[in-house]
Subunit: 335 residues, 2 copies
Amino acid sequence: VSGSGPGLDRDGLDGDLRDLVEGTLDGQQLALSRLISHIEDRKPGYRAAMRAIYRESGDARIIGITGQPGAGKSTLVDKVVDRYREQGLTVGVIAVDPSSPYSGGSVLGDRIRQTSRSEDPEVFFRSMSSRGQGGGLAAATFDVIHAMDAFGKDVVLIETVGAGQNEVDIVSVAETVCVVTIPGAGDDIQANKAGILEIADVFAVNKADLDGAHTTRKELLQMIRIGNDLDDSDERRWMPPIELTTATRGEGVDELLEAFDDHYEFLTDTGRLSEERAARFRQELRTHVDAELSALVDRLVAARAPDHEDGDPHTGAEAVLAPLRAAVEAELDGD
Amino acid sequence: VSGSGPGLDRDGLDGDLRDLVEGTLDGQQLALSRLISHIEDRKPGYRAAMRAIYRESGDARIIGITGQPGAGKSTLVDKVVDRYREQGLTVGVIAVDPSSPYSGGSVLGDRIRQTSRSEDPEVFFRSMSSRGQGGGLAAATFDVIHAMDAFGKDVVLIETVGAGQNEVDIVSVAETVCVVTIPGAGDDIQANKAGILEIADVFAVNKADLDGAHTTRKELLQMIRIGNDLDDSDERRWMPPIELTTATRGEGVDELLEAFDDHYEFLTDTGRLSEERAARFRQELRTHVDAELSALVDRLVAARAPDHEDGDPHTGAEAVLAPLRAAVEAELDGD
């Protein structure tokens, strides 16, 4: 009998996986890296491992950084990591790129991109792509956040490349979301303003040494004001600050971190932090349900749906839905 | 007893709805407009109505037109409609805009936008937004396509505004998909090329009177060539033609319609048309299943998922999945 304690034994984790979980909770990078690969690939026992991990998570600050391609997010993330390290905080970075052919794991964290902190053992970098995701990229990303959190990272940064709905869904589980844009991106912002206003807690106008940074800031400010006037019923509202940054020179990064801190303070002072965590819990749960349910429905469709020559889509949908609807009714009947 | 015949009676349609279905099949615009509102709102009996409609559909050509905001899609669609009318064909237009506050129905088709064919009874225009969609915008759009088809339209054009995944999913049920772009959009195309190459059967470089049209055409051509070299195993492959159009002056529109015709001929000659229809049937069926299943899962989550203070997302997901998984196993057990 190992010294793992009753908590881990109860989860029914087998020896190897239990070692990975224990190693992760002990702060061993190799264990974390291997555990992430295990849960990313949805290998047997990953749910039990995640239960054990989840119980030990909840202390890290989760910050999302997103924005259009070419906005300089990677460089900005690099500088944000530097500043947190200067404050003595440990950092995990998850770079999500659905279109990337790279994913997974070199031994001490996967560093496919050279960062200024490549040799710093207190920075753990992991890139994630759609490749090899059994249960969906969002579901796996949520699990990796918890693993880094339970490992002991003070700050977990999620960087999403691109601006698709999938990436927005992923980054929106962060407590603080920073939307990165660049001077002259007014049209793109206008086109996506509904989605951006909904998720942005802080704006960074990066490459602020280019012409038009102040114009872009004004456009954003106006957008925020209009958005907030339309919904001013809530006294506890947060007006997203707009920081001008030039990540390549490290300019504006201190102010950006102050904005993150201000937002975190706002969340705790207003009680929103626990609201956010409850919402994130629901979103994670639903993501895990949908990932597995999709495969179950595939099997039903293959077995029950008529050929397109013999039926119509609604009748076919009914044939698939009937057993599922009956199961839900039966399950809720006793309530 | 009306003269509706046994086909409609068997569907169990009540009097009013049966009248709308019959009127639609008779080519009455008012009936079509009211039927669309009924199925769009998922009012009682809409599934039975869709079954009756579906049996009478399948003759229309379905053409999707999509592309970035500001590409001039509306004007181009207008000119395409004009040309089809000059050929003596009747046309239905479905303009899908998830962000639009407008939807639904004025009496003779909903014409919130002035078109050159506003007074032409052989052109039926309908705009659709996310507002008031019980079962999802995509599911409702598919049903409206069938309604216009069964009504007797020779061509149904689906115009999607914006370039989100949802719009791509909607337009991809069309037999022929035209992606509209503009000179100088090279970066946007590069950023989205995977999605664009997958769905585009024909490209239109609109606003071709602007500088850079030929450069954009060359960029597209190169992208198509690379994409096809990577997947040259299929002898029956289609190389998407690239047409330069200036919709405001009607230039290039004849050539665009010829490209649509060429693609349709390719589909029929190679037997792909029936493959496309089988795929579309499956996609429609799945969309209808997912729309209702989502509501069923909401109920299970509300009843069975733990609070975020008492559990973890994976255990919560298990509680929701268990009855659904059991139902699928039981249903497929006899197979």
